[in-house]
């Protein structure tokens, strides 16, 4: 039972993350590889605020979203000038920078979470408080899964409303022909800032849920491998609509469980999982560019 709930919580977390990435990649065509770093930013913000300042879940998660949204400027300002491969490269640079900051902002002479030892470096922050909402501590698997599922439903609602809004239609027009959108007098610079702020803020929210559930966070969640996993979710599930990211998150989270059934030895399980991700990426690009349930064809 607990195992099923654990999977449900992970699905909720990654589904929010995939939806946030879909908003950016699927609708605006801005191919970001830095989403895992914003996930980590959210996780760390939540951890520091709850550990050191006694914040409850809602203010801490809201602050995480705020910090993620502000830091998204690191990706959105370069997006004014760059598209395609060069934008991907900029986002890789941002990913690397944020990872380096998280990995190196430490000084073991000071307690973790303080300004001199903000992230505790590679050791990470342990003992993060579980979510507390209006004085009630949610510490059972069942209550945590309800919380994450409610958050997923709220996020789904927000993304669905966005997806059917004129704003996303404008984003799609920018994705398909930026010059034409500019020619029609649309402010694409503002649009890029908006979409990346919203996308990164929701990535930070899922990071906050992650760290409140796992109660430990270290820089490994901000690595390039994590970004690749997210990208795979989007490519496999499909982009540009609402269903795709949910399907992608479900498939890629189910994959390790299926591999567990095959009873691979421990030393090869991780490698085989990544190998399958690689094969899926190639297969999808060649045979089903719109993903399993997507709308936008990555031609």
């Amino acid at each position: 039972m607990n195992y099923g709930l654990h999977l449900l919580i992970y699905f909720d977390i990654y589904a929010i993350l995939a939806l946030s990435l879909n908003l950016i990649v699927g609708n605006s065509g801005l191919f970001t590889m830095a989403q895992a770093a914003y996930f980590a930013v959210g996780g760390y913000t939540y951890a520091i605020l709850t550990m050191n300042f006694g914040f409850g879940f809602i203010p801490a998660a809201a602050s995480a979203m705020f910090v993620g949204g502000i830091l998204s400027l690191a990706v959105s300002l370069p997006a004014w000038r760059f598209r395609g491969d060069f934008f991907v490269l900029i986002t890789l640079a941002v990913q690397s920078l944020l990872f380096n900051v998280i990995n190196n902002w430490s000084n073991t002479d000071f307690p973790p979470g303080t300004i001199r030892n903000l992230t505790n470096g590679p050791l990470g922050l342990a003992g993060i408080a579980g979510p507390t909402i209006w004085g009630t501590k949610l510490d059972t698997m069942r209550s945590l899964s309800v919380l994450s599922s409610v958050l997923l439903v709220i996020c789904c609602l927000v993304f669905w409303l966005l997806q059917v809004s004129p704003w996303v239609r404008l984003l799609k027009s920018m994705r398909d022909d930026e010059l034409a959108a500019r020619g029609l007098g649309k402010n694409v610079r503002l649009l890029k800032i908006q979409v990346l702020t919203i996308g990164c803020a929701f990535a930070a929210l899922s990071g906050a849920v992650y760290s409140s559930y796992v109660t430990f966070i270290d820089p490994s969640i901000a690595t390039l491998d994590q970004s690749i996993l997210l990208l795979s979710m989007l490519i496999v599930g499909g982009t540009g609509n609402f269903r795709g990211p949910l399907v992608g998150a479900a498939v890629l989270l189910a994959l390790p469980e299926i591999l567990r059934l095959v009873q691979l030895p421990d030393w090869m399980a991780g490698n085989v999982r990544l190998l399958v991700y690689g094969l899926l990426l190639i297969a999808m690009v060649h045979f089903r560019p719109q993903g399993l349930a997507g709308e936008y064809k990555l031609r």
């Binding site: 490269l89 490698n271 990426l281």
Partner: protein, 289 residues
């Protein structure tokens, strides 16, 4: 002075990989991330041959030819079909990322995830005035310089090289002159595989290797291509040397953990201040985006 020399040597290796990346990127516009897989694979093949009793005389040609074969296979089975369908840059990039992941995971499954070394024992050193250079560093510096110089000669002095440059300039016109696009693309991929695997052997011989070193090395090479100017040949070579020196200075003054961050800050600085790179030509706005 010693720091600058060390930086110059590691910079020459970065520059060689940059030339390898460019040799695919310019003629085909494919962002060949799979090259990072080829780069990661090379020392493992050499390691396998050396461990099974074959000497360097067998290991080097076998490694280079296998890496060239894999590079050609990437084009033949993946990028060429995508290009025939007019796939977008994004599709090429993702498929190429898939290839990189597959190669790295296969390497990890066969040889394990831990770091290895191609040589045993201490490195012989040579003293030049007050500077100390190890044997492996000397091989890297000479080998990289020779290969970059050789590639420059190939591209400017031979008929085939000139044709590759023509292809980079305008693929459509190139075909209108009756040249075969596919075979020249395969040649570009073969060249990239050859240069990247040679570079990988130099670096691994010096500092050891593990399955995950490819992506970082390739990203550095791409940074160098952008800083140097992606349509220039000598720009990336110069930028490679400069970046190598900068990284060595960062290790000396700030610590090794800030190397990558500084590199990417430099990249962002160039992209904003001088997007055409050190020696690149500035272009019209619609070509840039």
């Amino acid at each position: 002075m010693q720091i600058i020399l060390n930086g110059l040597i590691s910079g020459s290796a970065i520059a060689l990989l940059a030339v390898a990346f460019q040799s695919v990127y310019l003629p085909t516009r494919v962002f060949f991330l799979g090259l990072a897989g080829v780069y990661a694979m090379a020392p493992f093949i050499a390691y396998g041959v050396l461990n099974s009793g074959g000497g360097w005389m067998l290991a080097i040609p076998l490694t280079l030819s296998l890496c060239v074969a894999v590079s050609i296979a990437c084009e033949w089975a993946n990028h060429a079909p995508l290009s025939r369908r007019n796939a977008s840059d994004g599709a090429h990039l993702i498929a190429s990322l898939g290839i990189y992941i597959i190669i790295v995971q296969v390497i990890s499954l066969v040889w394990g995830n831990d770091a290895k070394a191609l040589r045993t024992g201490l490195n012989a050193t040579t003293q030049i005035a007050t500077l100390v250079v190890t044997e492996a560093q000397l091989i890297t510096l000479c080998g990289s310089t020779l290969l970059v110089g050789g590639t420059a000669l190939f591209l400017t002095r031979t008929d085939l090289g000139v044709r590759l440059r023509a292809l980079a300039d305008n693929p459509l016109e190139f075909q209108l002159f009756g040249y075969d696009l596919n075979s020249h693309r395969i040649l570009a991929f073969a060249m990239a595989g050859f240069l990247a695997s040679a570079d990988s052997l130099f670096v691994s011989f010096d500092v050891g290797f593990d399955p995950h070193l490819g992506m970082n090395a390739l990203l550095l090479a791409v940074v160098v291509v952008i800083i140097g100017g992606y349509d220039s040949f000598w720009g990336p070579a110069l930028a490679g040397a400069l970046l190598g020196i900068l990284r060595a200075l960062v290790v000396w003054f700030l610590g090794a953990q800030w190397q990558d961050a500084t590199t990417f800050i430099l990249l962002v600085f160039f992209l904003f201040m001088r997007p055409q790179g050190l020696l690149g030509r500035s272009r019209r706005l619609e070509v840039q985006i």
